[in-house]
Symmetry: C2
C-alpha cells in the first residue's frame, strides 16, 4: 500500500506492506485522513508516535470502509463506514484499528468530512465535557477558534447550550466562526474585557494564561490543549486559590486502548448524532489527494484556514 | 461576651454584644477555637472576612455546646456538642452558626481537639477527595506536612489507603509526622527524587510548583491550598499537556452556606467516624485561654509546631 511517509523531515509517498488485522482488529480501507498539528511536529522529529504505532507513517485519524475483520472482531461488518482516532499511520491506503476504537461514520458526512472528525471532535468533547464538565448556560471562551479543535469546540458549546465567545487572530475568519455558533468573535488582544468565563479552552499557548486566570469566574476551569505560542506560563497561585480555579492539560494520542475506546463510546452517544441533526458540521478548509500529502502539510502550516485540512486517499 | 478582637493589627480582648440566632441558626457557647493562617493575615489587614461575618472578631472554626436554637432550627438540641467552619467570629465566648454548617463533635475528642478539627480536616478532605479524587493505593505527597492541614492530610491519606510521602522542613518534627502515617518524611529539597506522585497537596507555595510538575505521575493532580512561600508560579504547559495534569486551588472561608453545609455532610459521613475508631487524631501543639489569644497568634507565627494552636474559651 502507499502511504505518506516521513523521510528527512519531509513528507513523501512510499510503498509499505499491507497491515493485517490481529485479534479484535479491523482492516480499514482508508478514504480520508485529517492533518493535525501533531503530524507537523512529528515530521520535524519533535513528536514520536506512541509505542505500537507506525513511527514513519503519520496520521492521527482516519475514515474508511471495513475491508476485513481480525479474529474476534464483531462490532462491524465488511463495507461499513468507520472512523477513529489512531496513534499514527492514518495517512495511508490501509490501516489496522482495534474495533473498540472505531466509530460509525454518520450518514450525513462525506468522506472528506469524516476524515476530519475523530481527532478534533474527540479532543474538544473530551476536554470540555469529560474533563471540565462544561454545562448549559456556562460561558465558554475558545482561544484559536478557527482551527480544527476550535471549530469543533465552538459548535459543541453552542449545541449544548453554553454561551460561546471565541478569539480568532485572522480577521477574515471571524464571520465564519460566528456562523458556527460563537456569540462573540473577538481579536485575542481584547478577551480580558469580554469575561468572566466559566470555562476557557486554550488552543494557543502560554501567553494567554495570565489573562485567562484574570478573566476566569470563580470555580472556573481552564483546559490547555494547544501550546504553539509557548509553553512556559506564569500562574498566579493567589488567583488559583481565591477563584478555586482548575487548570488541566490533555492529549489524545498517547492514550491506551481503553481510554481511546471510552472516548469513542462517548462520541457515539453524545456527538455523532448531532451531525445528522445538523447541529454540528465539519468545516473542511481544503483537501489534497494522497500523492500530494506534502502540500496538505504546507497548507496546514500556512494557517489562515477555517477547520480541517484533509488528505483524501481514494 | 468577650472575644478576641483585631485592633490596629493586634489581637486584644474586647466585650461585644451577644449574638442572637436567626432562622435556622444556633447559638453556640464556644469552648475552643483553632487559630489558622487566615487569622494571621486578617490581623495584618491582608484578608477581609467574607460579607456577613464578623469583620473584627477572627476565628474560622469553633467547637462548643448548643445554648439556644433560632426559629426553625431542628438538627440539634440544647447542650449538644457541635463544631463548624465559620466565616469569622469563632474566637469568642459565643457565636451564631447556621445549623446546616454544624457537625456533631465525636465523643472521643476533647474540647481543645474539637476546636482544631473543622478548618483543617474539612480543607484537607475537600481538596484530597472531593476535588482531586484521591483513591486507595495512590501515591500522595503532602508539602508542609507538620502544620494543621498537613497533619490532617497525612492522616486522611493513610486512613484511606493512599501511600503518603511528606515534606517537613523542621527536622525535629519529622518523626511525629511519620507516626501520623507518612511512609516517608523528607526534607523539602529532595522531594523530586521521591516521586512519582499521583496527587500532590501544596501547602507551602509557588517555589515547589516546577518540581511538583516534574514529580507528577501521568494524570496526576496538584491541589494548592497554601502559598505562604510565594504565589507567582512557573508552569510548564508542555508537561501539563503531556502528563494530562490537573492543577487546582481552593479556599474554604468564602464559600456560601450551601457549600459549607455540603462539606460538613461529607465530613460527617467520611471523616468524623474515624476519630472514634482511632484512625484519626488531632495533634494540638499548644492551647491558650481566650484572654491570652494574642500569645496564641505569636505561637502560630513562630512555626515549628506539630498540628494546631487552639484558643480555649472556657
Amino acid at each position: 500500500m502507499r502511504a505518506a511517509t516521513i523521510r528527512d523531515e519531509q513528507i513523501v509517498l512510499e510503498d509499505h506492506p499491507d497491515p493485517s488485522p490481529g485479534k479484535g482488529e479491523v482492516l480499514v480501507e482508508v478514504h480520508a485522513a485529517g492533518v493535525n498539528g501533531a503530524d507537523l511536529l512529528q515530521r520535524k522529529g519533535l513528536y514520536r508516535a506512541p509505542p505500537g504505532s507506525h513511527q514513519d507513517i503519520p496520521g492521527l485519524e482516519l475514515a474508511g470502509t471495513v475491508a476485513a475483520l481480525g479474529p474476534g472482531a464483531t462490532r462491524f461488518k465488511e463495507g461499513d463506514r468507520v472512523m477513529a482516532v489512531v496513534g499514527g499511520g492514518g495517512q495511508a491506503e490501509r490501516a489496522v484499528v482495534h474495533e473498540r476504537q472505531l466509530m460509525p461514520v454518520p450518514e450525513s458526512l462525506s468522506w472528506a468530512e469524516a476524515g476530519g472528525v475523530p481527532e478534533v471532535f474527540t479532543t474538544a468533547h473530551d476536554m470540555l465535557f469529560t474533563q471540565l464538565g462544561l454545562g448549559p448556560g456556562e460561558r465558554l471562551l475558545v482561544h484559536g477558534a478557527a482551527g480544527g479543535v476550535g471549530t469543533a469546540a465552538v459548535q459543541l458549546g453552542r449545541a449544548t447550550g453554553a454561551r460561546v465567545t471565541a478569539t480568532v487572530r485572522n480577521e477574515s475568519l471571524r464571520d465564519a466562526v460566528e456562523e458556527l455558533g460563537a456569540g462573540g468573535v473577538i481579536p485575542p488582544e481584547v478577551f480580558g474585557e469580554a469575561g468572566p468565563f466559566d470555562v476557557i479552552l486554550e488552543l494557543v499557548g502560554a501567553p494567554n494564561m495570565p489573562g485567562n486566570l484574570t478573566a476566569l469566574e470563580n470555580r472556573g476551569r481552564i483546559g490547555v490543549i494547544g501550546i504553539g505560542a509557548g509553553a512556559k506560563a506564569e500562574l498566579n497561585l493567589g488567583l488559583v486559590l481565591g477563584k478555586r480555579a482548575t487548570v488541566c492539560g490533555s492529549t489524545l494520542r498517547p492514550r491506551p486502548l481503553e481510554e481511546k475506546a471510552d472516548a469513542a463510546r462517548r462520541m457515539e452517544r453524545q456527538v455523532l448524532p448531532l451531525f445528522d441533526t445538523g447541529a454540528l458540521r465539519v468545516p473542511v478548509a481544503d483537501t489534497f489527494p494522497l500523492d500530494r500529502a506534502a502540500e496538505a502539510y504546507e497548507r496546514f502550516e500556512a494557517g489562515g484556514k477555517l477547520g480541517k485540512i484533509v488528505i483524501v486517499t481514494r
